[in-house]
Amino acid sequence: MVPLYWYLWLGSVVFAVGIFGFLTRRNIIIMFLSIELMLNGVNISLVALSHYMQDLRGQILVFFVIAVAAAEAAIGLAIIIAMFRNKATLHADEIAEMKG
């Protein structure tokens, strides 16, 4: 039997890799992907917890997370497209008109 915390550990690794990607990548789309990684880390943990607790609520939450992720993706990508029309770049560090 796989211990629960292996799953949690795996989830946290994926989560942390997502954080790393979000913090370091310049490409907005990859940053976005990194967030998806973080969500997947969370999802892995949730499903595992749900499984080990013999409770379905965690999985329900995962379901919603996926739904929300889809919505986020739609809006996020739309925003990216809208921006790309005005300024043809996908690098977060080039989008810094406002600062200070």
Partner: protein, 472 residues
């Protein structure tokens, strides 16, 4: 299904329905302002049903109590005022689309759900509903690069923070086996502090901290507030923030209330940091929207004192503060919007030079809002009442030093609020006089906010009673 089980949800249902209605309506009408009007009417209807909505639904997932109702009123006011601000503004910005009003309504619906959420899953979804609508609104002026930038920043960081929120929810779920906030509270009280629990508390704190823009999770706020359409900045700086507070307060005081001794320390540090950062950087700003953004950061630092204090006193002080803050902040933005006209940004502090000369009434209103925002040492504005109550609660809880710190930052804040007054009153206008784009709706918004700010300043009793009752 028994209708009574969804009774508490009635306002939300009406809200959702009317949002859809507005959306449909948008397709058939040419004059988009009508959609705005419709949204105001629907909010009025929703507000009418609020008093009948008290109760719990879906096994405690949805709670309509005094606490949520109070916040909902903040959201309604926020919505109404924002819509009033927007009507003419959107035309000037060449973004007069009906989706705008629908999105504002959806966003408000999300806030209402957040305020009423008795379950973390509902909370999360309400938050996302609010956030996603707001992301779109922030980027609503598609052709404006700054609006795009605001949307991108808000969106990515918002998504990042909701991932953190989810992680926190996950851990707490793992620890207690539930996502129901009151059950979590019971479980937490029973089991006491453990490191995983603390971990989840911190994750949730960071996530909520992002929503209410606590330093150091505030950094999105100035950029987004500056870039977003001004009406949406006004909207965002009040509604989502208040919703964040609502959720923050509910989760931390109901869910983690028994451990408050453990997490208030962190919150105090964050609150001081927030006040410091908000006020000190605001002094540096020359763009008034950005300055107000920092000021809004600082105000979050004050309001969070209410959560630190906790209890009915702290909560009612916080709610009271947010209520008042809504009026004065939107009022200030309304003046900024008034200066925006075709081909003229009106956002720079320089643009306010000599306003008292060219538009005395506008200047006088701005003066009232600025003094009210300064708050503490300046009665008799609503801002004073808000801060007074807050600091009274803080001192009552024994944190005299914290009140002193807050009050000092409040004095520092006077510096930049006063600078606006100084520009308006003490400097002479340069070049051509600013033309005001005053529409009846904007005028109405200004009138409401000004009167509210002064009235609450002079006769705060009804509001105080309401807040106290709501915090109950």
């Amino acid at each position: 299904m028994d209708i009574s089980t969804i009774g508490p949800l009635l306002p939300e249902i009406i809200m959702a329905a009317s949002a859809l209605l507005v959306l449909l309506f948008e397709l058939v009408i040419r004059k988009k302002e009508t959609a705005g009007l419709l949204s105001i009417i629907s909010v009025a209807i929703v507000a009418y049903y609020i008093p009948q909505s008290f109760g719990k639904a879906f096994g405690g997932m949805f709670i309509s109590d005094g606490y949520s109702v109070f916040f909902k009123f903040i959201f309604f006011i926020n919505l109404i005022l924002t819509v009033l601000l927007s009507m003419r503004y959107l035309v000037i910005e060449k973004s007069n689309h009906g989706e705008y009003y629908a999105l504002i309504m959806f966003s408000t619906l999300g806030m209402m759900i957040m305020a009423s959420a008795g379950d973390l899953i509902v909370l999360y979804l309400g938050l996302e509903l609010m956030a996603l609508s707001t992301y779109v609104l922030a980027g609503f002026i598609r052709h404006d690069i700054r609006s795009n930038e605001a949307a991108i920043k808000y969106f990515l960081l918002g998504a990042f923070s909701s991932a953190l929120l989810l992680y926190g929810i996950t851990i707490i779920y793992g620890l207690t086996g539930t996502t129901d906030i009151s059950l979590i509270g019971a479980a937490v009280a029973e089991k006491g502090l453990s490191t995983p629990l603390f971990l989840s508390i911190i994750f949730l704190m960071v996530a909520f901290g992002f929503k209410i823009a606590l330093a150091p999770f505030h950094m999105w706020a100035p950029d987004v507030y500056e870039g977003a359409p001004t009406s949406i900045t006004a909207f965002m700086s009040v509604g989502p923030k208040a919703a964040g507070f609502a959720a923050f307060g509910r989760v931390f005081l109901t869910g983690f209330g028994s451990l408050s001794a453990d997490w208030t320390g962190i919150l105090i540090v964050l609150s001081i940091l927030t006040m410091a950062v908000g006020n000190i950087i605001a002094i540096q700003q020359s763009n008034i929207k950005r300055m107000l953004a920092y000021s809004s950061v600082a105000h979050a630092g004050y309001a969070v004192l209410g959560i630190i204090v906790g209890g009915a006193e702290g909560i009612s002080a916080m709610m009271n503060y947010l209520f008042i803050y809504g009026f004065m902040n939107i009022g200030a933005f309304a003046v900024v919007i008034m200066l925006r006209s075709e081909g003229f940004q009106g956002e720079a502090l320089e643009d306010f030079k000599g306003l008292a000369r060219t538009h005395p009434l506008a200047a006088a209103m701005m003066l009232v809002f600025m003094f009210s925002l300064t708050g503490i040492p300046i009665p008799p504005t609503a801002g004073f009442i808000g801060k007074f109550y807050l600091f009274k609660a803080v001192i009552g809880a024994g944190y005299i030093w914290l009140a002193v710190v807050a009050v000092i930052f409040s004095a520092i804040s006077a510096y930049f609020y006063l600078r606006v007054v100084m520009y308006m009153y003490m400097l002479e206008p340069e070049g051509e006089a600013v033309t005001l784009s005053l529409s009846p709706s904007l005028g109405l918004a200004l009138l409401i906010t000004t009167i509210a700010v002064i009235f609450i300043g002079l006769y705060p009793s009804p509001l105080l009673s309401f807040a106290r009752l709501a915090a109950g």
